[in-house]
């Protein structure tokens, strides 16, 4: 991406988040033999098709593009599971479903782009479900942002890409509130110290 505008999101752009998620491990069904590779990042086990092997996602995507393997979708990325999670999300307005892995959004996007045929044949439905899930969660995030305070904001089980989306904004708001309340904090601390000295 040529638009690496860092000032908006802090240190991470969405493309970088996607890049980082490629480090995770995924199972593939290789189509060709390959000896083990001793890379700096880790050891790649030898391929004996059609035995399944676990390799890093970046390598899996590369091999898939060269048609040298088939990717086995991770267990959470299936239409029935996503549908179940979507139902939990819509029914509970106050929390985010903990069953989604930390990098669900970026991993799902990468896999949908690279290997739609390996995802069980119903990738169109999966796309629709994922979009819906994202919108429900986004709505909840926005609602949570409306309750920002100067001290802390707790939203459990958000994905990394979703956090990146709100990081810049939340940082600005919390900072602004902190600065406005700073004069009161100083008074509180001074008052405390005086009380301690008087009542020692």
């Amino acid at each position: 991406m040529n638009n690496n505008n860092h000032s908006a999101n802090g240190p991470l752009t969405p493309a970088e988040v996607a890049f980082l998620c490629e480090a995770q491990s995924i199972t593939i069904i290789p189509r060709q033999r390959l000896d083990g590779l001793d890379l700096i990042g880790g050891y790649i086990p030898p391929f004996h098709p059609p035995q399944r092997t676990a390799i890093p996602l970046w390598l899996a995507l590369l091999l898939k593009r060269q048609r040298r393997c088939n990717i086995v979708p991770p267990p959470w990325l299936s239409a029935p599971n996503i549908e179940r999670i979507l139902k939990i999300e819509t029914e509970n307005q106050n929390f985010f479903c903990p069953d989604l892995p930390y990098r669900w959004l970026e991993t799902a996007e990468l896999l949908l782009e690279a290997c739609p045929d390996d995802l069980g044949g119903d990738d169109g439905e999966l796309r629709v479900l994922l979009r819906g899930l994202r919108e429900v969660r986004q709505g909840k995030v926005r609602e949570g942002l409306g309750k920002l305070e100067a001290t802390y904001l707790q939203m459990n089980n958000l994905g990394l890409l979703e956090i990146t989306e709100v990081r810049g904004f939340a940082k600005g708001v919390v900072d602004g509130l902190r600065k406005i309340g700073a004069s009161i904090e100083v008074e509180l601390v001074l008052g405390w110290m005086m009380m301690m000295m008087i009542f020692r």
């Binding site: 409306g146 920002l148 810049g168 600005g172």
Partner: protein, 181 residues
């Protein structure tokens, strides 16, 4: 606030009404009459950097503070009530281009307990509006434009950040679906 920060410099330049406590010879030009003195009790609008120093000068060695500071018109009780009633319709930019920064500095100098709460609530509510606008860009034409034109500097930067990150995520996701094979 750092020394070279443009926003800090501009905040300092905003004017605050002050009342002189003592007579100072030769400063008459501040009032517009050159070559006369400033009499005790005169009200002049001084920039914040000057007003702050003079207002706390007692701590620095003079007999009493050279000036006493008053609330700037941007933070007057009338405005405070308007903010309490409906923060999103007040045009902050016309009151002071760096509204919240001015508020912070004044809070550090004057005793104003309610003002902290009013400013915090205003900031929170307007931030929620800003987030809404950033996600659904309506442009400057519709009613959204009025609100956007009235944002002070801090809010404007907040809007830019949130708009940029929303745009980046949208571009990322649509990039993915455009390169379907």
């Amino acid at each position: 606030m750092s020394y070279y920060d443009i926003d800090a410099i501009l905040t300092d330049a905003q004017k605050v009404p002050c009342t002189f406590e003592i007579t100072i010879p030769g400063l008459g030009y501040l009032e517009g009459n050159s070559n006369t003195d400033i009499k005790q009790g005169t009200r002049v609008e001084l920039p914040l950097w000057l007003a702050e120093m003079l207002g706390v000068s007692q701590r620095l060695g003079t007999e009493q503070n050279v000036v006493t500071l008053d609330l700037p018109p941007a933070l007057a009780p009338r405005v405070q009530n308007a903010l309490k009633a409906n923060p999103c319709t007040v045009d902050l930019r016309s009151l002071a281009s760096h509204y919240y920064s001015l508020g912070e500095r004044i809070l550090g100098l004057l005793e104003e307990d309610e003002l902290v709460d009013i400013l915090s609530e205003t900031f929170k509510k307007r931030a929620a509006e800003i987030a809404d606008h950033a996600h659904n860009p309506q442009g400057v034409i519709s009613s959204g434009g009025e609100f956007l034109k009235g944002l002070d500097e801090n809010e404007r930067q907040l809007f830019k950040i949130s708009h940029e990150s929303a745009k980046a995520i949208r571009a990322f996701l649509s990039d993915r679906s455009n390169t379907k094979k």
